[in-house]
């Protein structure tokens, strides 16, 4: 208990500092964890309580992500999503996988590293576009749709890579049945749900909290992929009243996610056998370069312009919450350290590059900038 309090206050302090300098907070929470935990001073260790709280952080992250997913809207914007998404997926998964193999990871580990390597942080991309006032850029829409595509990939990963891999067909059938039942309940009880959400007592928040925990418990007892179920449940509820559920679940997500990040850092041991710091640095830098390759490719294809590629690169360098989630769910000790390191380095470099993308673009690309107002596509 004292450990959690110590970790939380460290995070509070760091959040104050990073917000002041407009830096992303996620890497600093992980660094705080590394310093407090096994890799550093060994002041705080994980226990049952912290495990439960970090689990809540993961659940609410996924639930929140589910709320944001609007299947009809995604269906309508397929063309915007698929082309750039596939470029992003192919380039980064290929490079990430090869880099992981080269560093000596086994096949399954390398796949997990590649997945975490591929998925940029949606939170950091969105914050960076807003804070750096880049929403008007043509590229910002491309970036937002890229994030949506990556989210869909995360869902597929969570649906298909589960710890119980022995009876894939049985799990699939069970999952589909549970989804159908959930959907029916939500559609049938729609009016009751709306009525509960409109109240101003403890009912809305109690409903949200117990619903998310309930789905998690249900999935575990039936033996179907929990993370996937929580996301899809969020998407179902999002069809009723996404704003209200967001408002109710945000405080849980915010605080438990901080605990999730810091305890991820605490449990990672950067100094166990078989982990070489230079290779961690190498893979993190490759992660930055790999997004450069995909960013430029997407920029050239969609916007016919390398400078657009720089903007896309700048805002997608940072890996964050979903990479950590994948590490926490599937990663071995070595994989988790590699991903922790990658998140820290890419998100800090990403924040810097996104802020100075204009100047960096001028250095990296010689091609003259096209003037936005003259673009006939507008």
């Amino acid at each position: 208990m004292q450990g959690i309090v110590l970790a939380l206050f460290a995070c509070l302090l760091l959040a104050l500092i990073t917000k002041r300098f407009a830096l992303p907070t996620i890497p600093f929470y992980i660094i705080a964890g590394l310093v407090l935990g096994k890799s550093g001073l060994d002041l705080v260790g994980g226990d049952e309580i912290s495990a439960f709280l970090t689990h809540l952080g993961l659940l609410f992250l996924l639930f929140f992500m589910g709320l944001e997913i609007k299947p009809d809207r995604i269906w309508k914007s397929q063309s915007a999503i698929v082309t750039s998404g596939l470029i992003d997926l192919n380039i980064n998964v290929a490079i990430g996988f090869l880099a992981a193999i080269a560093l000596g990871f086994h096949l399954f580990e390398a796949l997990i590293v590649a997945a975490a390597f591929f998925i940029s942080s949606t939170a950091m991309a969105v914050t960076s576009l807003i804070e750096n006032r880049k929403l008007l850029m043509r590229e910002s829409e491309t970036i937002v749709w890229l994030m949506v595509f990556e989210d869909i990939v995360v869902i597929l990963i969570l649906a298909f890579i589960s710890p119980q891999m022995d009876q894939p067909l049985a799990i699939l059938v069970k999952t589909l049945i549970m989804l159908a039942i959930l959907y029916a309940i939500i559609m049938f009880g729609k009016d009751q749900i709306i009525w509960m959400l409109k109240r101003d007592d403890e009912l809305p928040v109690l409903l949200t909290f117990s619903a998310v925990l309930g789905i998690s418990a249900l999935s575990l007892s039936v033996g179907i992929p929990e993370s996937f179920m929580v996301i899809v449940f969020g998407t179902f509820l999002g069809t009723i009243d996404p704003v209200s559920f967001e408002v109710q679940s945000r405080p849980f997500k915010d605080v438990f996610l901080v605990i999730f990040f810091v305890f991820f850092g605490i449990t990672v041991n950067l100094f166990t056998e078989g982990i070489y710091l230079p290779s961690l640095i190498a893979i993190s830098l490759i992660a930055v370069i790999s997004k450069y390759a995909s960013g430029i490719a997407i920029g050239k294809l969609i916007h016919k312009n390398s400078h657009s590629g720089i903007e896309i690169w700048a805002n997608t360098i940072g890996r964050g919450e979903f990479s950590i989630a994948i590490a926490a769910l599937y990663g071995s000790a070595a994989v988790s350290s590699a991903i922790a390191f990658m998140v820290i380095i890419t998100s800090i470099i990403g924040a810097f590059v996104a802020k100075y993308s204009g100047r960096i673009g001028k250095v990296l690309i010689r091609q003259p900038l096209t003037v936005q107002g003259d673009n006939p596509s507008r």
């Binding site: 997913i69 576009l129 807003i130 937002v144 994030m147 107002g373 507008r378």
Partner: protein, 161 residues
């Protein structure tokens, strides 16, 4: 004039307007509740951006919607150009010692000045359309409506004496 709107997941709703002179104005309603407004002059590369809170955005909106208000610190003037240029001013005043403890009736506000008290704010409570026997207290904020001449008379004859 081409207007398009799009919902950007995770960010909010975007409205983009291209003027006849090819300048671009884009408004983003962010999830945080704030509004970012970008303007990009034709031929220019970097937009200027302002971030507005919801009240600021509403204020800007009502200015753009037809410049019917002239506002200074404590008062707002509405002009109805269709009604032979009817102008009505709403003004706020802080109740001082001279008025405290007296009722609206006692002060003969309407008869003497033509001004009507439409609301009184006391602490965190508001009284809209206070009755004639409403008694003012020191520190109340009152909202009065009338023509600007009537309000001047109200200020001079009732509030200050």
């Amino acid at each position: 004039m081409a207007l398009r709107s799009i919902n950007l997941p995770g960010i909010g709703t975007k409205y983009e307007l291209e003027t006849e002179k090819n300048d671009i104005i884009a408004v983003f309603f962010l999830k945080s509740g704030n509004i970012q407004m970008y303007t990009l002059q034709h031929g220019c590369q970097t937009p200027s951006v302002a971030e507005l809170s919801p009240p600021e955005a509403r204020r800007l909106g009502s200015i753009l919607a037809g410049a019917i208000m002239e506002a200074d610190q404590e008062s707002v003037e509405f002009a109805f150009s269709a009604l032979s240029d009817l102008r009505i001013t709403i003004h706020t005043y802080i109740v001082g010692k001279s008025v405290a403890g007296k009722s609206i009736e006692e002060l003969q506000i309407r008869a003497k000045t033509g001004v009507t008290i439409i609301a009184v704010s006391r602490g965190d409570k508001n009284v809209v359309n206070p009755p004639a026997d409403f008694i003012f207290q020191d520190g109340d904020t009152l909202v009065a409506i009338g023509e600007s001449d009537q309000l001047k008379r109200f200020e001079r004859d009732i509030m200050v004496t």
